[in-house]
Symmetry: C2
Subunit: 141 residues, 2 copies
DNA sequence: GAACAATAATTGTCGACGTCAATAGTTGTT
DNA sequence: AACAACTATTGACGTCGACAATTATTGTTC
């Protein structure tokens, strides 16, 4: 019988958990959680996104986006704006406060990833990232 | 601002989720879930383990082990046996039924991993596995 | 050897997460 | 004008992972 840790899928599952925990503990003081942070980061690179687009890009259920955007609005990190061509949709935009938050936490965020891939050198990290990216792209997205 | 998917930590988190989902859907018909399967697989390679050891090896809270072993006992896949030298401990052993289950599902389990790392060829899969293993070992055993 | 700390399993609680079903408002189609 | 499709929202449910507290047992210390 193959050992459990010989299974790439199980390793991914375990490391995914650890990664999420590290991110959440880094975000703890700010009152946000990993999912909020993901939304913010995504908004930073796509100026104005419909909630439906956030849902598709992040893989979160549309109903989950609602609460996340609620929280971000309360903190002044994002805003809902009416869509000009479709009154069903809302356009979510990053506010200056949100942008500042991302700037201030960027370094700490990088520390998290560094801690995760600690034992790997620079080229190995790139290898790992490239492999993960290809795996991630295949399963939809 | 770096894109979200440029973050190795986030990729790991996402792929970990997907991996867990795939495993769970593969196990669905058997009534087990990923964590039960992990216990079974671990028991298959270590003949007789204390619950405390299962907890340490798998990274699950001791309180989580209780329910998992309960379920496995109900299905006849594992048994609790009294420890001869410490009446607090129980030794968990795989039954013949559990062994048969692992044998029967082994192929399907491999399909899950194959589906996950689909776009990678054989050498790339080994590369990925080796990198993940080193990352996994660093953050504690 | 009696009091005390440490340990193994257990129970209960809690928040976060992911999924699904249902609804209201709006748009597109026939 | 009637109907189907879509967007955001609300609500419910089960799983998962982390923690505190309890019970039974063992080890340690005075």
């Amino acid at each position: 019988m193959r050992a459990l840790h010989a299974d790439t899928g199980y390793l991914l599952y375990r490391l995914g958990l650890r990664s999420g925990q590290l991110f959440n503990s880094f975000l703890q003081e700010s009152g946000l959680r990993l999912r909020h942070y993901a939304v913010l980061r995504l908004l930073a690179t796509t100026p104005g996104a419909l909630q439906r687009e956030l849902s598709a890009s992040l893989g979160y259920d549309p109903s989950a986006i609602v609460g996340l955007v609620d929280d971000l609005e309360k903190l002044g990190f994002a805003e809902r704006r009416p869509s000009p061509d479709d009154r069903r949709s809302r356009i979510i935009v990053l506010t200056d406060g949100g942008r500042a938050f991302l700037r201030d936490t960027d370094e700490a965020g990088q520390r998290v990833t560094n801690e995760l891939v600690g034992p790997l050198d620079a080229t190995e990290r790139e290898q790992l990232h490239a492999l993960l990216q290809r795996v991630a792209e295949s399963g939809l997205a």
